[in-house]
Symmetry: C2
């Protein structure tokens, strides 16, 4: 037998833990209520095995069983986990008041995101406070994911990755057209990232969706790594690309720089 060559991690890997977490993750997609059999099919396990994991998760509070339908849904302990993840983010804590001020000052929606593989993950969000403002809402909330290549937040984060890491990430990108101006080639994106890196901010002119514009700036920690990015999202009817840069660019970059400074970043 070869033995060692198969699987993913070979040596140290806990099958049970992986399967249990796989079951938990199954609740991400769509339906919030799942039964044992459904889950079993989802993760490719027998009903009995699935049930054991589900029962374990339920007694620990990670799942709750609906008394009527006998199906399971995520429990409050999962919330705990998620929130300790969020709250363990120094960046977010430090940035929150600055983002609020930025949103108040500009009247636009402010988002903060981190990079996770090909995706960006929203970790903070301040909706525009002006009631009359046209609502831009692709059903985004904290925790939402979007592909990095077609968002200002994603581009600014990719632009400040080390070249080998950036290339590794780009290998996995599916350059699907999502808006009128989506960058649909690796070559094009690389050129764009170069530009973003030089000018210190990223623009998005309807690359993700029709009518959506944004400008994003990076947040650096004390190592000089871009650990997060912050953007202003506007509707194309509200502002031209020129004005986006001229009127909002400075304020945005100043806010991002303040957050970076609080994280110990020393501007070169």
């Amino acid at each position: 037998m070869v033995g060692t060559a198969d699987g993913e991690a070979g040596t140290s890997h806990s099958q049970s833990l992986e399967r249990g977490l796989l079951i938990l993750s199954a609740f991400r997609s769509g339906q919030p209520q799942l039964g044992v059999s459904e889950l079993g099919r989802c993760v490719g396990l027998s009903r009995s095995t699935t049930h054991r994991y589900v029962a374990t998760l339920a007694t620990l509070g990670y799942l709750q069983q609906d008394e009527e339908t006998k199906k399971y849904r995520l429990g409050p302990r999962v919330l705990d986990l998620g929130f300790s993840a969020i709250n363990s983010m120094e960046v977010r804590e430090v940035a929150a008041p600055h983002l609020r001020r930025l949103s108040d000052a500009t009247g636009f929606t402010v988002n903060m995101a981190i990079l996770d593989g090909n995706d960006i993950v929203y970790v903070e969000r301040c909706r525009s406070t002006r009631p009359g403002q046209r609502e831009i809402d692709l059903n985004l909330h904290i925790g939402s994911r979007l592909p990095a290549y077609c968002t200002s937040l994603g581009k600014v984060l990719l632009a400040h990755l080390s070249p080998p890491l950036r290339d590794a990430v780009l290998d996995g990108v599916d350059f699907a057209r999502r808006g009128p101006n989506t960058i649909t080639s690796r070559r094009g994106l690389l050129a764009e990232l170069e530009r973003v890196r030089e000018q210190g901010f990223a623009l998005n002119n309807e690359e993700l969706a029709y009518g959506l514009r944004s400008i994003a700036a990076p947040i650096f920690d004390f190592h000089g790594d871009a650990v997060a990015a912050v953007n202003l999202a506007v509707h194309s009817s509200m502002i031209s690309m020129q004005d986006l840069v001229a009127r909002l660019g400075g304020t945005l970059r100043r806010a991002a720089a303040e957050v970076s400074a609080h994280l110990g970043h020393q501007p070169a």
Copy 2:
């Protein structure tokens, strides 16, 4: 052999899964960076065993290893879990726009919470938009927990529990004094809950902390269960208790009733 009587769940229980999740939970308390040895001591396992779980969690993205310190922190996949938990809450989705409107209309901070055991868990939060407003912030964010017995949100949720369930919950309450007017006896709380139930809303007059007042109303689903509660939080210098009820009570209760109606609740 007795066999079945020992342990917690007896029969179907996955040890590995429980241990793995225990390791994840260890990150809740304080330090966001933990090493293998620390974790091992935390959960009572050998370093090698702990390492296997940690490695598994890391390859799955639930943990990330800091390249310098070699210690681990929570990874982005944990965020996913937490957010699918939040987003699987129908209540929250339905309520969000109403809460925003309520906050805009009153100018005060609006909170929504659910009950989890003795605690309430914040699931939505709209900070007051008026800049001049005095900030009431006990470092609360979505996911924060507070004891139910000394909050308006908690009292209104407890008040609408079925008596046996309510009694079971109260058994675990530690009636610690947290503010000038904290209810510190089970007897007193039961009387208060009765009042809350009758009048349809709960008040908090500095029971949680000095200077903090709030008024809360329940949100019912189509079963008639109080699945969440919403409140308005104010500083005692801003408004008297009479005005809190007279000026804000109606608006708050109307907002809560609208959300309940959207969930299919039929007022009796």
